[in-house]
Symmetry: C2
Subunit: 702 residues, 2 copies
Amino acid sequence: MLLLVLLFVFFISELVSPVTIHSPSGKISLTFTLSSSGAPQYALRFKGRDVILQSRLGLTAADGLNFSEGFMIEKTDSLVFDETWEPVLGEVKQIRNHYKELKVTLSKSEDKKRIMILIFRIYDDGAGFRYEFPAQEHLKYFIVKHEFTEFRLTGDHNTFWIPGDYDTNEYEYSETRISKINALRGQNSSEISTRSIIGDNGVQTPLMMKSDEGLYINLFEAALVNYPAMHLTADREKYILTAHLTPDAVGNKAYLQTHARTPWRTILVSDKAEDILASKMILNLNEPSEIEETGWIKPVKYVGIWWEMHVGTSSWNYSDVNNVKIGETDWNSLKPNGRHGATTERTKVYIDFAAKHGFDAVLVEGWNVGWEDWFGSWKENVFDFVTPYPDFDVEEVHRYAASKGVKMIMHHETSGSVTNYERRMDEAFSFMKQHNYDAVKSGYVGRIIPRGEFHDGQWMVNHYIHAAKKAAEYKIMINAHESVRPTGLHRTYPNWLANEAARGNEFNAWSAGNPPSHETILPFTRLMGGPMDYTPGIFETKMSFYYPDKKEQVHTTLAKQLALYVTMYSPLQMAADYPENYERYPDAFQFIKDVPVDWDDTKILSAEPGDYIAIARMEKGSETWYLGAITDENPRTMKLPLDFLNTGVVYTAVMYADGKDAHWETNPKSYMISKKNVKAGDTLELVLAPGGGAAVQFLPEK
Amino acid sequence: MLLLVLLFVFFISELVSPVTIHSPSGKISLTFTLSSSGAPQYALRFKGRDVILQSRLGLTAADGLNFSEGFMIEKTDSLVFDETWEPVLGEVKQIRNHYKELKVTLSKSEDKKRIMILIFRIYDDGAGFRYEFPAQEHLKYFIVKHEFTEFRLTGDHNTFWIPGDYDTNEYEYSETRISKINALRGQNSSEISTRSIIGDNGVQTPLMMKSDEGLYINLFEAALVNYPAMHLTADREKYILTAHLTPDAVGNKAYLQTHARTPWRTILVSDKAEDILASKMILNLNEPSEIEETGWIKPVKYVGIWWEMHVGTSSWNYSDVNNVKIGETDWNSLKPNGRHGATTERTKVYIDFAAKHGFDAVLVEGWNVGWEDWFGSWKENVFDFVTPYPDFDVEEVHRYAASKGVKMIMHHETSGSVTNYERRMDEAFSFMKQHNYDAVKSGYVGRIIPRGEFHDGQWMVNHYIHAAKKAAEYKIMINAHESVRPTGLHRTYPNWLANEAARGNEFNAWSAGNPPSHETILPFTRLMGGPMDYTPGIFETKMSFYYPDKKEQVHTTLAKQLALYVTMYSPLQMAADYPENYERYPDAFQFIKDVPVDWDDTKILSAEPGDYIAIARMEKGSETWYLGAITDENPRTMKLPLDFLNTGVVYTAVMYADGKDAHWETNPKSYMISKKNVKAGDTLELVLAPGGGAAVQFLPEK
């Protein structure tokens, strides 16, 4: 990461409210008001239009501490900040961090003087604010009980929401007005094992909305560190969304020690949906990398023994005995079930495939003992992370992969038993380094131990960061599944490549699945916080391919699976299908082989949440562009100006499109591949089938 | 540990109840009954007298599982077991484990067949029983909700109790009838910071009682593994004590996976108090050592920088700033408070003292950063266990101690933040080995993290064992303070040398202190489970010695402090006073220098809980005997037959006795040292002052 420009301008405002501050271009303004009772409030406008009406700020803490009213303004400070930095991995080569900041120092002196600072940062695409508590005589430790942060909306916006839940974010999205939110729907999602739904009016962030006036509004948080994840509860009559913090085992929200600060509460707003996707505000609100030497952090395109377990032709577990104990069970004496996926032999098939087709790495799940009864019993010592099943020869796999120039990806399923993982983490990471693994997929399926804690609580938030930092000590990259959703921390910990933390492609294998609109919503919601390991690339989309009676299927065409590599940004991407399935479609597979996962530039060409997305990206260190376009259940013809292409260069566009008769449900494998020459200024017409998509490679002519 | 004799005899009983089984000598009998409703019950008799009337057994678990009634007897098995084994460290060289066992296999088939086994072991000094759940088709995982184990007493016994409390066992004892138990008294103990009192009728185990008929009865548990500590609630009208398990953060008691077993519930009984102290039943009910090579486990007599902090002339913390953060605070920039105890210079004084007087090791508390605000804020990252304060040079201390042939004892105060300790444990133990520390005193002051867990809950019980096992991997010995009370696990993990887990000598420095009877009760209660690091040896018993205005004082004479080295068994003993204080009383100090902490034989000469104790012990590998005698607030003359001395040998008895005018309160430092020749068959008269004691060394003449 390199700082390219850095500019500070300070000026001091008066001690009266309201105070209004504008974004660098003036498009967005935020007004801070201290009410007559000393309650801090704010409002946000975009191009002169109200976005957030005057809304409450503040929080309360244990021991009667009230940081929501009775304040005086001690001082206000402002500055302009303009910096350009380079992410280690990313969608673009350089990111500009340009904002105006208003810092309001509030004090109250009921019994003892205490200070709280509100920091607002106003960008041209949104605003963020946080609460800060400097170290001070009468405030050293405090326990947050409630946070009152409000977002008073101007109307009954159309909203893309999932139920507020302390333990999972794997719901499919609902698209309703604020007034129609009914989050108890989530209670029937038996396909999600561990659920802790807040109530009928709770929703998660990032929350994407669209007003009747055509404003796109996204509410979220950035830099979630040492604080619980923020959900929102909706007043469905007044259209007020209020922060709802995930509690801990005893009902407290956060244990803070001054100097303390909350995550940023963020509002993105634009009259163009594309601006929301293009925003780098969340990343900018995070701290620069704490890792100085980042040369070991690499993008990863991988295959692995994984989808076959979701399909059901293989199992994670070696035996069907379902009562085993780490350190006691004699694994060699168990009767194999004959379906175990993670065998040395099968792993070699994937290693050969990866080597042949240029993948960086192979993931193997189910390699380590404990899967027989890993889940559902709130068991603590589920896995030890170092003992392979009898049919998985770690040494031989290590040797074989190295001989083929392929990396292995470790898998650490914690089963939610985080205490167990933490106490074994050093040993587990050391084991990885001994066997040449430099990336790990971690999993958090199930109820958390420490019992009473939730996936989204402060303790777990700190755990995920602890894992990323500890991994960095070992130069290990992380891909965490079933974690809290990311909030841009991959800027600070660039070895934290990706997360799942949403409803991934896997649901298509064994549940009602992800509706065709799903992938058009995720970039507006979950992906606002960081890369997702969505595991695209499924060619055999119907489970009936494996089991004639099965109705489950992926809700996209094959071509859309290709497009997802472009529309769903991640520096870590899986080609999730069986090697055998790819071998049968070598022409379509070529796109997956070619598409990079790290980029020098990105253009959001066209987007509407829930309907469609088209994105173009330029490969890192290359002039080759890639384009992904996807649609929901509706067919769609897109006419995309190729303005992004470098002028004066002729490109060969290799187009992977839906066949004429393609349809996600009835004919998903109909695709056609064609080539033509194009250049900047041309318009590309793409015809997308229902649930379809298109992927295009633009190769500059030599 | 060596098995010397091993004898099994099996015989099969009938399938009807009641079934009665007798101890090897016949002194004790236990009757198992299955009621007409299929509820398991038991009763215990001693020499034909009722001890425990017919009492309920069983437990309930989540999901409606009821293991307290509806049972049938599937089968009963019995055996006689007789083995002699050698503890690594101990009060005696060999321990005989001789019992009859009754194993009752119960089954119930309401919906699905489930099995529970009751195992009773009857010794000549008591009985133990446990619940066992074999691995079975319809019982793999279950969550214990309540345990119903009852102890129905025959009358309103006199009882030595402390309030039932999930978090602390540092109360002083009350001596009342069962009917007069009022455990809410503990609520006013502001001297104990972290308290979670069960209720007004809750008491802790080991519970010592004496019936009006002169029976001594002790209720406790052995082998507390993977289960919460058992407290007792008292029916003060019917004299029924019922198991009360420590809950976890969500109110559950224990998470079990079959094959599962509870700790042993134990009843010791005799008509002689001395038999209670001599009993090895708790140890015998524990599993043999899991550590095969035990040559590195050594007894430890030590001094250290510790009492001076309790007195107040030194501090644990380096600075008086009380808002510091591990990993952030610049410790070198803090202003020293000038009272920091753990300086390199002061440590060298202790090292010199230890070397001069033959102590094995030096403990230094407060050496590592974080003490400025270590306590009371439920803070997680309090200590890192590897960063010394600026004025403590670990390398230099290591070098200097090694040059003097003295070991250093590490100190790991967790402040109750156990998650933090566990995640840093490997690093902390590695740091110890690098710097030549082979023993650690760990501390658990404060509320537990994981928040909602208690010191005595299943999770913490497993933690203490985890720490002992992990330490053993590093060949490190452990001395845990503020932990759950021990239950004989030092047999299984002999590197777990000692615990505090009761009200130690330290309370005398800064609280109402420990009444003169305290040390006559502890061996009947806390010490039933294992060695205690009581930290005796205080010569300057009055805090007014340091601060004229202070009223606090040790509630014993100086001579009694010497006697405690014999009456309070521990293979790890501190000489807790300042080196400077010992230097002023070299004649009395000679006893502390001479007294060993590991023994080949032990004889309980005379004892009455709450009144007096006299014990003789023979030094490991030597013919030298030591005798300790203590009394409560009453003066006492003891006439002790010296039957234990080896016949045919003349001994020089070196007697450290209270002075004629000695009194714990008014004249504690009055003592006299005398010698005389004695032999087996003689009677030794010892005159003990109020709160006094006597220590005697018997040197065989060459």
